[in-house]
């Protein structure tokens, strides 16, 4: 049984959520500076 599908699903899901969170912090800092 190939568990790679499970790991890939978790990696992409949490990567996308984490990336969105980091992008929000970046946007906030950029707006605060301008």
């Amino acid at each position: 049984m190939n568990d790679g599908y499970v790991w890939l699903a978790y990696l992409v899901a949490y990567g996308l959520i984490g990336g969105y969170g980091v992008a929000l912090v970046g946007r906030r800092r950029r707006r605060d500076r301008s």
Binding site: Y5, V6, A9, Y10, V12, A13, L16, L24, R28, R31
Partner: protein, 243 residues
């Protein structure tokens, strides 16, 4: 001077962030340590990311509709910011639900995707309609016109949410039936039920925290003058004029 509201406001996001980290940690722990399914084995663990993402997409688009109604009734841009922030999150969670679902489909159904399946096709349509919602917002520089147009679309588009949710009952195609039903959660054992419920709660916390953080960017973004849309410098040729 009473500083209580601002102190509460400044503590809200860090508190929610802490709760979310704890919730996501508990969610991951229960998801990865729960029993494997008798038929699907470890592939059932994709459910603990897939179902909460789909649930959050429904909630997020419902909140977008709520913000749209709020703007149409009260004409306060705060409602519009709520609608925008929630739509952005809804698109992200729909993308996760679609991607994790297709990764689950390959080993279990033998195919990543099937356009003939009602749940898959209606979810994809919902994803593209809300991408269009975000595109409409970007294409309208005037904040009031943007709020009005997107409120109308936000209200029309939300019709898809019950359609996607009940699609598994309305059309019996490839996608499995509802897991959480009024008569109980349709899973093998209690550790799987716990994993699903903990992850549903963790993703809901995640949504609320990201929503609060996104809404706070709203006023700061509004303060920055709008860049003129692409193509606005191009003027129509004056036809019929003598040279």
């Amino acid at each position: 001077m009473n500083t209580q509201p601002s102190r509460t406001r400044s503590l809200l996001l860090p508190t929610m962030f802490g709760l979310t980290i704890a919730g996501v940690g508990a969610g991951l722990w229960t998801a990865l340590t729960s029993s494997p399914d008798v038929e699907q084995g470890n592939f059932v663990r994709i459910l603990y990311v897939h179902a909460p993402s789909a649930w959050l997409a429904f909630l997020a688009f419902g909140v977008t509709a709520l913000g749209s109604i709020g703007w149409l009734v009260r004409r306060k841009l705060g409602w519009d910011r709520l609608a925008e922030a929630s739509a952005e999150l809804g698109v992200m969670f729909t993308a996760i639900a679609l991607f994790s679902g297709s990764l689950w489909g390959k080993p279990v159904w033998g195919a990543y995707w099937d356009w003939a399946d009602a749940r898959l096709a209606s979810t994809a349509l919902m994803f593209f309609v809300y991408l269009g919602y975000l595109a409409l917002r970007r294409a309208t520089p005037d904040p009031v016109a943007r709020a009005r147009r997107s409120a109308v679309l936000g209200l029309v588009a939300v019709i898809q949410v019950p359609l996607v949710y009940f699609s598994v009952n309305l059309w019996r195609t490839l996608h499995q039936g509802m897991t959480v039903r009024p008569d109980g959660v349709q899973l093998g054992d209690s550790s799987m039920v716990t994993a699903l419920l903990v992850n549903l709660a963790a993703f809901t916390l995640l949504y609320v925290t990201l929503l609060l953080a996104r809404i706070r960017i709203g006023p700061a973004e509004a303060a920055v003058p709008d860049v003129r849309p692409a193509g606005s410098a191009v003027t129509a040729p004056k036809l019929g004029e003598s040279r």
